[in-house]
Amino acid sequence: MRVNLTINGEQRSDDIDPRTLLVHYIRDVANLTGTHVGCETSICGACTVLIDGRASKSCAILAVQAEGAKITTIEGMADGDKLHPLQEGFWEEHGLQCGYCTPGMIMTAADLLSRNQNPTDAEVREALEGNLCRCTGYQHIINAIQSAAAKMREKKAA
């Protein structure tokens, strides 16, 4: 079956097995392996991408269900060599250790900050309800997201 969508600004048109999950399409057809698979019951969030700007678990939908959508993955967050404030935040605040949950975390955080520019720590924790991390205990992730939020508010004000 043919599927047409846009990933990180690039239009794609591919013939695929219709039962292909979106995450496998992203990883194996579009060859963007930054989006990870951590479970098969849509709990862990490692597969999180933005679909038309909203954080979505790409393991929980078929690629063909994303027909016509604009998808952003972790590979689309930086602007050339210029990192997104969230990527900078995770780096500066040691918001990652093994890195496996990190792309999903960043995509969920991007969605949060697009809707709430000034979240409380509690609101950040609640927003990450769909993303598991086993390494960090979450505190540095909260710091990373808050650091990015502050930077993004500043940029907006300027």
């Binding site: 097995d17 039962r19 292909t20 990883r27 194996d28 963007l32 392996t33 930054g34 989006t35 990870h36 698979v37 951590g38 479970c39 098969e40 019951t41 709990i43 862990c44 490692a46 993955t73 972790i74 590979e75 967050m77 930086a78 990192l83 990527q87 995770f90 780096w91 500066e92 040691h94 990652l96 250790q97 093994c98 890195g99 496996y100 949950c101 990190t102 792309p103 960043i106 720590d121 509690a122 950040v124 924790r125 609640e126 990450l128 309800e129 993303n131 598991l132 991390c133 086993r134 390494c135 960090t136 205990g137 979450y138 505190q139 540095h140 992730i141 909260i142």
Partner: protein, 781 residues
């Protein structure tokens, strides 16, 4: 010229992160090779059953399928999955079941196809004729006469029995004011790294060599074992640990799939990939803990503990993985914790049950020991009406006693337990919080204060400690090479998977040679590149890997000083490295560029007596002893009597890991450790039902905590350097986990003490607490 700063001690950004935050890190599922096939494994739905027959005919006919095999196809072709720890009864462990299955999730057949979807289609066509047998999941029941026997050749379900008796314990029991008895179960846990396991194997039939990518913590040790399983020379096998998405001890192992995937590649002469699904990870990757302990503590009414005795029942599972029977030993030896308890005795019965094997999981035996020690202190306090902080103070090994021999026959390197307790109590304003607790109780609110002082044994370790059948000892390797352009390459035998040695080791090297941290590249995880190494586990990465690094650094410094001495006509012992120069310590203006020394070493135009060309040094460091990080955690919680929910009001962790090289990374390790320890106390448990069905087979059922389920951690550090190594480091990877479980447990029990509740089995889930509270209130009424 700009002055190059010192990097050790700085809160510096990690070298690992640029690739990870951009999604360009290479994990095993990102390995793509031409012609690569995918293998998917069919697993047993029964906990215990005879396999009468397996019909693969229909599966083999599924369009696109390349091959389908079952366990018997590998009889005499692949050796047993290894257990190197000594035990009386070590069963043969086939890579896929032969004749019988012994736990839900045991592999039974494998299909290989161009992708996982087609391979799964093939699995759906496999017919297995099982004859279900009775299963046994309770280790105490497994020892009773008439219990189903897992391995007929042993005639019982005993794995091994070990006893460390001590008549002094019985003497003390006679003299003591009271013998306090309690039973605890450190429940079975699943490590759940966010990346499940995975293997890619490529057999090159032309060159007759094998490359294995595996999400492993121990590339060399695994290579040695797989070589034996496949009867291949180790010099023809390359193991690569790519980015590894978490391990926590679950990947400190050698698994069936590692040899199986390799064998499939050798047979099919194409690369083969196997990626573990989460369901497989929760059922077929090693579990942690699962120890029952019956404790007797001989105590006097002033709070002094005279002796400790433990009787352990340890649930090993159906088969023994690499170190399965070795883990409980730590629990016995470390039971006396931070305390000068003079007499210790314990025995440990290890048992087969129809479950997945247990093995190392963050702490590996020491969380169980700390829980025993800390519950003992709480029980003594409750029994005699004493303050739990006072009881600890009374029993602490004092600062002056170090290096301190213990009743378990260990020698603790250095410590100041009293200081960590004081800092923890000050941080939560202990006296004031007790007053607030009392006031809250009058209003019908249940607030609890939990304390746990812990010490743990890590920096594994002196080689004599490790099992004889493990190919490597407890040492570690490191090569340091200064390239002709003055950049530095470090090849380390440790295998980090989040711990950050690419950063910490670069900090050390940069400071030692006076170069920028960006000039240093740390490489790990490739057996064809780095010298034989033991890997990352047991909080040994910096503790054992670090001194190995420093040995090689020193060798190169000595050599370079000899060269510079000849060039500068200054004695070598007066020279230092700073700012990309070699300079006189007493007069920095007398210096030569580092590059000049490097040119001389490589160009070698003027040979120097006793100095070989080049700048490459390899060292192997054997630790003289283990190291002992320690601390005190304090938690203030409120338990909602109507819902059983636990809310953290404060969580304070005072930890001492010796000298701190990378403060940000140390914080991260403690945070992550605390999260897993709190999770054991409140949320997680691997559950099998009576018939051996796994009830916690998905992340919907196994409660790995989410961000909103964990508190804000307040960290305080004390620094008591370890005398064991020149860096003064003790290790920190597991310490947070060890202190946090008893701390959290003690806090909740303290909150419920007014209701007369003395004990509840972990995890302290809301439903569990609600029931306990309801039953206690009913009893009082």
């Amino acid at each position: 010229m700009a002055v190059i700063p010192k990097f050790i001690g700085q809160r510096i950004k990690r070298r690992e992160d640029p690739r990870l935050i951009t999604g360009t890190g290479l994990y095993v599922d990102d390995v793509r090779l031409p012609g690569m096939l995918t293998a998917v494994i069919l697993r047993s739905p029964y906990a215990h059953a005879k396999i009468n027959s397996i019909n693969l005919d229909a599966a083999r006919k599924v369009p696109g399928v390349v091959a389908v095999f079952s366990g018997d196809d590998f009889k005499d072709k692949i050796g047993t999955v290894p257990c190197v720890a000594p035990a009386e009864n070590v069963p043969y462990h086939p890579v896929l079941a032969q004749g019988k299955v012994r736990f839900v999730g045991e592999g039974v057949a494998v299909a290989v196809a161009p992708n996982a979807y087609i391979a799964q289609d093939a699995l759906d066509q496999i017919e297995v004729d099982y004859d279900p047998l009775d299963a046994v999941v309770d280790p105490e029941k497994a020892l009773v006469d008439g219990a189903p026997i897992l391995h007929e050749e042993f005639k019982s379900n005993s794995v091994t029995f070990a006893a460390v008796p001590n008549p002094a314990v019985d003497e003390a029991m006679k003299k003591a004011d009271k013998i306090i008895r309690f039973r605890i179960h450190n429940q079975r846990l699943a490590p759940v790294p966010m990346e499940p396991r995975g293997v890619v194997a490529r057999w090159d039939h032309g060159y007759k060599n094998l490359t294995i990518w595996s999400s492993t913590q121990i590339p060399h040790l695994m290579r040695s074992q797989v070589a034996e399983m496949l009867k291949l020379g180790e010099n023809k096998i390359r193991v690569i640990a790519p980015e590894v998405g978490g391990g926590f001890g679950a990947k400190l192992n050698v698994y069936a799939e590692e040899a199986l995937t390799a064998y499939l590649s050798m047979t099919l002469r194409r690369p083969v990939k196997w990626i573990e699904r989460r369901r497989e990870n929760l059922s077929g990757t090693t579990h942690g803990r699962d120890q029952i302990a019956y404790i007797e503590a001989a105590a006097n009414k002033d709070g002094e503990v005279l002796a400790l005795k433990g009787k352990f029942i340890c649930d090993m599972g159906a088969y023994l993985q690499l170190l399965t029977p070795a883990i409980p030993g730590f629990s016995g030896l470390m039971m006396t914790g931070c305390y000068k308890i003079p007499a210790l005795a314990f025995d440990q019965q290890m048992v087969f049950t129809n479950k997945m094997a247990t093995d190392a999981y963050r702490g590996a035996g020491r969380p169980e020991a700390a829980f025993i020690a800390e519950r003992t202190m709480e029980e003594v306090a409750i029994e005699f009406g004493l303050d739990p902080a006072e009881v600890r103070r009374k029993n602490f090994i004092p600062k002056a006693a170090f290096p301190a021999p213990t009743a378990g026959g260990l020698v603790y390197d250095s410590g100041d337990y009293e200081l960590t307790l004081k800092k923890a109590l000050d941080a939560i304003d202990y006296k004031k919080t007790r007053e607030e607790q009392a006031a809250a109780l009058k209003q019908g609110r249940y607030i609890g204060i939990g304390l746990a002082s812990y010490v743990e044994i890590c920096g594994i370790g002196p080689s004599a400690l490790l099992p004889p059948k493990l190919k490597g000892g407890g040492w570690e390797s490191c090569t340091v090479r200064i390239e002709p352009d003055a950049k530095v390459t470090v090849l380390t035998g440790v295998s980090p998977h989040g711990q950050g040695q690419e950063t910490t080791f670069a900090q050390l090297v940069a400071d030692e040679f006076g170069v920028d941290i960006d000039d240093v590249n740390v490489v790990h995880g490739d057996t064809s590149v780095v010298p034989y190494g033991i890997g990352t586990f047991g909080s040994r990465g910096t503790t054992v890997g670090g001194p190995a690094l420093m040995m090689s650094v020193t060798k190169l410094q000595d050599k370079m000083k000899k060269i510079a001495s000849t060039m500068m006509e200054v004695p070598p012992d007066q020279l230092v490295f700073q700012n990309r120069t070699v300079a006189m310590a007493s007069d920095a203006s007398k210096s030569i560029p580092l590059q000049g020394v490097i040119d001389a070493a490589y160009g070698y135009k003027t040979p120097i007596a006793g100095v070989e060309p080049g700048l490459d040094a390899t060292s192997f460091y054997e630790p003289s002893a283990c190291t002992f990080p320690f601390g005190t955690h304090a938690a203030v919680v409120e338990v909602d009597a109507d819902t059983g929910a636990v809310k953290f009001l404060r969580y304070v962790a005072v930890d001492d890991c010796g000298k701190i090289l990378s403060p940000l990374l140390v914080e991260g390790q403690i945070h992550g450790g605390i999260a897993q320890g709190i999770a054991q106390a409140l949320y997680e448990e691997v559950r099998y039902d009576e018939s051996g069905q796994l009830l916690s087979a998905t992340l919907m059922d196994y409660a790995v905590p989410k961000a909103h389920m964990l508190p804000h951690y307040e960290l305080i550090s004390t620094v008591t350097p370890s005398p064991v190594n020149s860096l003064g480091v003790k290790g920190v990877g597991e310490a947070g986990t060890i202190g946090s479980t008893p701390c959290t447990f003690n806090a909740v029990l303290d909150a419920l003490k007014p209701l007369g509740i003395r004990h509840i089995d972990m995890p302290l889930k809301p439903e569990t607490l609600w029931r306990a509270i309801r039953d206690a209130k009913a009893k009082k009424a």
